[in-house]
C-alpha cells in the first residue's frame, strides 16, 4: 500500500519507517502545510474531502508510476482529510533510494501528480467569514480555452489556476 488517507494527524516519524531499506542511502520527504493565505485572502482553516475509493486507486497508480520511472527503493504518500488548522500537515510524501537525485525527482513527481489527478477537494475558510472550494468557485465560468483531456496526465483538470507553484494553493 503506497497511498492512503488519514483522519488523524500524519506522523512523519512513523511513516518514514515504512521506507527503511538496507540498500537506501537516504530519503526525501515533502510535507504540505495549511497556509494562512491564498490568492489575497486570509485563510483560517481548511476542509479536505476525497472520493476515497477512486482516490486511493489513482494515488496507488501515481506511486507505482514513480517506482517505474525512477530507480528508488520505496515511496509512500499519506493525505489528510477533515478539518485542518493553520500549519497542520495536509499531505506527506516520502521516498527512499540508494542515491539522493532520484529520491528528489520521485518525490516531486508524486506530489505534483497527486495535486493534479487525485480526486481530493479543499474548502478554504477565510477570516472575512466567507469560504470557497479551491479551483471550483472563482473559476466556475466556462473556460476560454479548450480542455485537453488527452495529455499524458490523463486525469488532470486543465485549469488556469492549476499547476503553478503547487497551484499556489494552501501550502508552502
Amino acid at each position: 500500500m503506497h497511498f492512503r488517507f488519514t483522519q488523524t494527524p500524519i506522523d512523519p516519524a512513523e511513516a518514514r519507517r515504512e521506507l527503511l531499506d538496507p540498500g537506501a542511502g537516504g530519503y526525501v520527504s515533502f510535507e504540505g502545510w495549511v497556509r494562512d493565505h491564498n490568492e489575497g485572502q486570509e485563510v483560517t482553516r481548511l476542509e479536505y474531502e476525497a472520493f476515497q475509493e477512486l482516490a486511493v486507486k489513482e494515488g496507488e497508480r501515481i506511486v507505482a508510476e514513480a517506482l517505474r520511472r525512477f530507480p528508488v527503493k520505496h515511496a509512500l504518500c499519506i493525505h489528510r482529510v477533515g478539518t485542518l488548522g493553520l500549519s497542520d500537515m495536509a499531505v506527506w510524501v516520502g521516498v527512499s533510494s540508494a542515491h539522493r537525485g532520484e529520491a528528489f525527482d520521485a518525490c516531486r513527481f508524486i506530489i505534483d501528480e497527486v495535486k493534479h489527478r487525485v480526486p481530493i477537494w479543499k474548502k478554504e475558510h477565510y477570516r472575512s467569514g466567507n469560504s470557497g472550494w479551491v479551483n471550483c468557485e472563482r473559476c466556475a465560468a466556462p473556460p476560454t480555452h479548450s480542455q485537453d483531456h488527452s495529455h499524458d496526465h490523463g486525469h488532470s483538470h486543465d485549469h488556469p489556476h492549476h499547476g503553478e507553484a503547487g497551484a499556489a494553493l494552501s501550502q508552502k
Binding site: K115, I120, W133, E137, H155, H157, Q171
Partner: protein, 79 residues
C-alpha cells in the same frame, strides 16, 4: 433505469445531498449531467468536470447500465 449518484465538495453543497438513487432515461454520463444540471443549477460546466462510473474514470459517452454508480468530479485541489 436506476443509477446511484454520489456528490462531492461544491457539487454536494449545490445538490444539497451527498448521494441519491435516480430513475433516469439518461443513456450516458453526459446526458445525466445535463439532466442534473437542470435540476440543481450546478455552476460547473461539464467541460470542467471528469466523471467516474463504478469508481473508475470514464468517458462521457459510455453507455450507462442499471445499477451503475456515477460520480462527477469537480476540479481537484489535493495537497
Amino acid at each position: 433505469m436506476q443509477l446511484k449518484i454520489h456528490y462531492y465538495a461544491l457539487m454536494r453543497e449545490q445538490a444539497g445531498r451527498s448521494e441519491e438513487t435516480l430513475d433516469t432515461s439518461a443513456a450516458t454520463p453526459a446526458d445525466l449531467y445535463g439532466e442534473l444540471l437542470a435540476r440543481y443549477g450546478f455552476t460547473l460546466t461539464r467541460e470542467q468536470l471528469k466523471v467516474a462510473v463504478n469508481s473508475e474514470f470514464s468517458d462521457w459517452s459510455r453507455r450507462l447500465a442499471a445499477g451503475d454508480a456515477v460520480v462527477f468530479i469537480p476540479p481537484v485541489a489535493g495537497g
